[in-house]
Amino acid sequence: MEELRKEMENLKDQITAVRKTFQDSTLQEAAAGVTVVGRVQLKTRKTLRGHLAKIYAMHWGTDSTLCVSASQDGKLIVWDTITTNKVNAIPLKSSWVMTCAYAPSGNLVACGGLDNMCSIYNLKGKDGNVKVMRELAAHTGYLSCCRFLSDTEIITSSGDCTCVLWDIETGTQKMVFAGHQGDAMSLGVSPDFKFFISGACDFTAKLWDIREAECRQTFGGHESDINAIGFFPNGNAVITGSDDATCKLYDLRADQELLTYQDPSIMCGVTSLAPSKSGRLLLAGHDDFNVNIWDMLKAERVGVLAGHDNRVSCIGVSSDGMACCTGSWDSFLKIWN
């Protein structure tokens, strides 16, 4: 056992050393000649009112018009963000919801939380009523995040430290992704749907091969729990947000951290993040009720979205890049552009 521990330490040192040999430059140096993006001032265009308690999660539909939100008032609401109408208001069995997701097809939504389950709802049922289609149960900890691959497959992350790929039709686990040493808090799927990334309370982010059920890479550096994670739009880099109040950019092919987004005036943990369509802007939601907007190449703060009266718990940029949606403990969602 002692030998194995020593070998673990040796291998970790080896990885750190090898990564350094590929660090012939830094992104900071490479981007030295790039001009910082001008001040980004987004305005609230819509406020989505209707939830009666803290909003914990939101996810855009792929049509860039509809989105789903989850609140501890025990409801999932599907919104038309342009008209602000509620398309569906789905009552949940368990009000302790922590995550929600919209299937790429627009046919299904999912949610879960302290019930340790991922519940799938069919929005396009025959009689027009939205009903539970499946309850995916097997996690031994809370459901922190879920993302659909298609109408038949969904990936979940859990407080039991694992992530799971589910077959929605049979309600069974297809793959279990084990390796994190702490609660898995967030996940993101690669643009080509072959990989996903997870951030956890062990302060690391892991890249997983979906079909091989293998962890390909592990990224450290954060000094506290990683609450939010997302892919850079081309799928070659990963962005993380942590309780240590910073975001980090990791490049997958160089297998290392490229930049840290931090400022001494930002002392509150990051709860959520989303890149803009080109990847140039990084929007990060914090516990201090604000969203900070970063120039991702220059690591400089170029804007702030201040409009919520409580913690910003979730954020998302629509697929066509036209708008950013924020959800808050103040029970409102806001659409900005």
Binding site: R45, K46, N234, D255, K277, S278, M322
Partner: protein
């Protein structure tokens, strides 16, 4: 769970972690300079199609209420 079983399961877990680290150590990496220039190029090529970055003219903004102008 007997202590013997406990130690063998943590032994198995340690072996898995060593195996995982060996695999991660053998990963084929590219230089940071190449990774950086690729990221910068992607941002540059897609900047003009990034509405939040470029700004959206009112007439093309589906989220902005377009009120007709009245001449007083």
């Amino acid at each position: 769970m007997s202590s013997k079983m406990q130690s063998s399961s943590s032994l198995a877990q340690a072996r898995r972690m060593v195996q995982q680290l060996r695999m991660e150590a053998s990963f084929e990496r590219i230089k940071v300079s190449k990774a950086s220039s690729d990221l910068m190029r992607y941002c540059g090529e897609h900047a003009k199609n990034d509405p939040l970055l470029m700004g959206i003219p009112t007439s093309e903004n589906p989220f902005k209420d377009k009120k007709p102008c009245t001449v007083l």
